[in-house]
Symmetry: C3
Subunit: 301 residues, 3 copies
């Protein structure tokens, strides 16, 4: 049996690079499709909605010639009737060959893996881990920058509650980057993540001022959620001061990334820049997830 993926925190840089390598092979079949997973079924258990992640996992499985069952929200599932996650997982393990799980609660994917007889891939659980997002982020950065060693990566926005950065920052730490953490005071990265980054010996700089990050190699922008702020005026002020547009960028050409969906963080006039790669980044979710599925099903690689 192949290997699932719960968190990248157990992974070495070498292991991550092997997955990315396999993803690069998969990218060749991304549009044409293969039959490598013919007869296999992926169960997509999305206990909270996530269109992008779900559709790209489904696309990945279908491009591999496999099939998909599942649900896209916990509404109308037996969870509503009081079933435990463990029971749902044990039941669906009877049907499919591979579980992909998205869950609002931190630790859900780990628990699923303990109760499943099948490999489990974590498609995001609570504010903890979102390893497949992190892998497609790394894939995209390396695709453009080749080597991340010594590169400056600015993570911008909500670094406190955003799942993406929690998962991405520690992984970047393995690749020898310098981090610039740009966020309003209220949304600074949690201390426990800083401690974790320190352990990896990452050089990091924190700032509230986005203009200090514009010379970075990558601007990785995340959404600042209205509901984090006590009043709307405060939110508007903060959100406005982290908005990227052409005027702010001037002649600089950092790689501009975003996990999507975006709301107002990146102005539409940025979309046409060749270094604005956020849609391409979303597209990289397909080969990366193809690689993870191939690995989980033990189909080679």
């Amino acid at each position: 049996m192949g290997k699932g993926l719960i968190t990248l925190r157990d992974y070495s840089r070498k292991e991550i690079e092997e997955i990315l390598s396999l993803a690069r092979v998969m990218a060749r079949d991304q549009r044409t499709g293969t039959d490598i997973a013919k007869g296999k079924i992926l169960a997509a258990l999305f206990f909270e909605p996530s269109t992008r992640t779900r559709l790209s996992f489904e696309t990945a499985m279908l491009r591999l010639g496999g099939k998909v069952i599942g649900f896209s929200s916990s509404e109308g599932t037996s969870v509503g009737k009081g079933e435990t996650l463990a029971d749902t997982v044990r039941t669906v393990s009877q049907y499919a060959d591979l579980l992909v799980i998205r869950h609002p609660r931190e630790g859900a994917a780990q628990l699923a893996a303990e109760f499943s007889s099948l490999p489990v891939i974590n498609a995001g659980d609570g504010s903890g881990n979102h390893p497949t997002q992190t892998l497609l982020d790394l894939y995209t950065m390396i695709d453009h920058l080749k080597d991340l060693e010594g590169k400056e990566i600015a993570l911008v926005g909500d670094l406190r509650y955003g799942r993406t950065t929690h998962s991405l920052a520690p992984a970047l730490a393995l690749f020898g980057v310098k981090l610039i953490l740009v966020s309003p005071q209220e949304l600074r990265i949690k201390n426990e993540i800083k401690v974790e980054l320190d352990k990896h010996g990452v050089k990091l700089r924190e700032t509230e001022d986005i203009t200090e990050a514009l010379d970075a190699d990558v601007l990785y922008i995340t959404r600042i959620q209205k509901e984090r702020f006590p009043d709307a005026a405060e939110y508007a002020k903060v959100a406005g001061s982290y908005r990227i547009d052409r005027q702010l960028l001037g002649k600089r050409t950092p790689l501009i990334m975003h996990p999507l969906p975006r709301v107002d963080e990146i102005a539409a006039d940025v979309d046409d820049l060749v270094t604005a790669v956020y849609f391409e980044q979303a597209g990289n979710g397909v080969p990366v997830r193809m690689a993870l599925i191939v690995r989980a099903l033990g189909l080679g690689g």
Copy 2:
């Protein structure tokens, strides 16, 4: 790359006939299936629910050997998180080979086509266009009447807000039919559509009295929605006077069509008439949509 379909208003009669011709070829494989779209993925983006249209598009793609991803309502999609239609479309374009979009807002399909790198098929947007419905309507009429030239087609019911007639009437105009427009005063066809029909030189007659339309070649019935009327009594009176039953039809045998779902507009005793073709009409959605998919994917035809 193949061609999408946003509105039939840009199409000549010849182009429409070519699509219908291809649909007739597709009808042969409608039940047995082919492998012509093997490896291809259709993304069905239904921002509002439409079971019939969605299921027949999915059936069409599956019968062609292709695969389907998507969502069936905007609930729980990233739209709920404030994502623009343009961003959703650009993202999903990274995954699939073809977009089918249904949206409550007029113009949504056109906008999607502008932002997508893939062909887009409009599965109904707002009260504007529903070209695939119109094509299956034409397919059904021609299948039964052979030539539409000079035929009398009565459009009955809500001609003001109903999307179907907005899309169907102008297309019929290309085929040399005579139109009888039967509706209550409040739900008469909009003037702009009448102007459009006039430009095509269509002979049309408006009436509030359904008995004046019973000798037509086709009775195309549409639903009158309760919510269009200020009070329930008024609605009941109107709805009652547009209801088709055997007694009303007498010995006449017009082709009876309906885009479905029907509520009370056609009595159950009509269902057994050989000229009551509304379920067959729904079924024609499959070969017509197969043809549109084949065309959009550039697979021949």
Copy 3:
């Protein structure tokens, strides 16, 4: 054309055994998959949610090489627009090769079969029938006990409203078992079912005391729903007294079954017993439903 399945009440023991036999053949392909239903489409019309039943039907069809369309709740379907079940069924019959229907109203599957040109499989309608559940229950029992003749089967819990027992008890009657019916006074089996069981000459014993059933060959546990009781305290008392745990079982090793989802009826410490087969039982839904699909599509068997 093959045969659908509305209720097992029309079936002889021999006919049921033939289906179970075919299911045993299907079990061999349960994980690897076949192409026997290639090009065929199953429409899963779930007018009420049922994750387990839906996913195992989908799995069954996919493992057979077929494809699936449908919906998982009536929300956002044309039913919401007032369409009758008969019309929905007649429409979808135009698309697919086989209908699977789940509906909150008793008799819905029978009605669907009358209006459909396709074979219909009942995936549970109201409190009436759930024949595919019954078949997988029988499959599981026979798999473990070989011959059911003379075996003691205890049905425990809500025998009044629970759909499973309504459907299972009469079928068990054909196999020469002895029934022990264990339920609180308020949830005793309905008299009409008792009359039906009497006609089959089943030996049955009713009790409120679960300890009288612990020596049975099978303990078939069902959920007791809170909403059946006027107050929470009364519910808690009853629910508590029907809960199975290791202490209650002692050294006895009855086969322990449950249609799932469970809430509190079976303690987690029971899960590891080799005779606790409820997840395996759920898994048997796949070969049983594969057999029913093969039969309905007339693919052999």
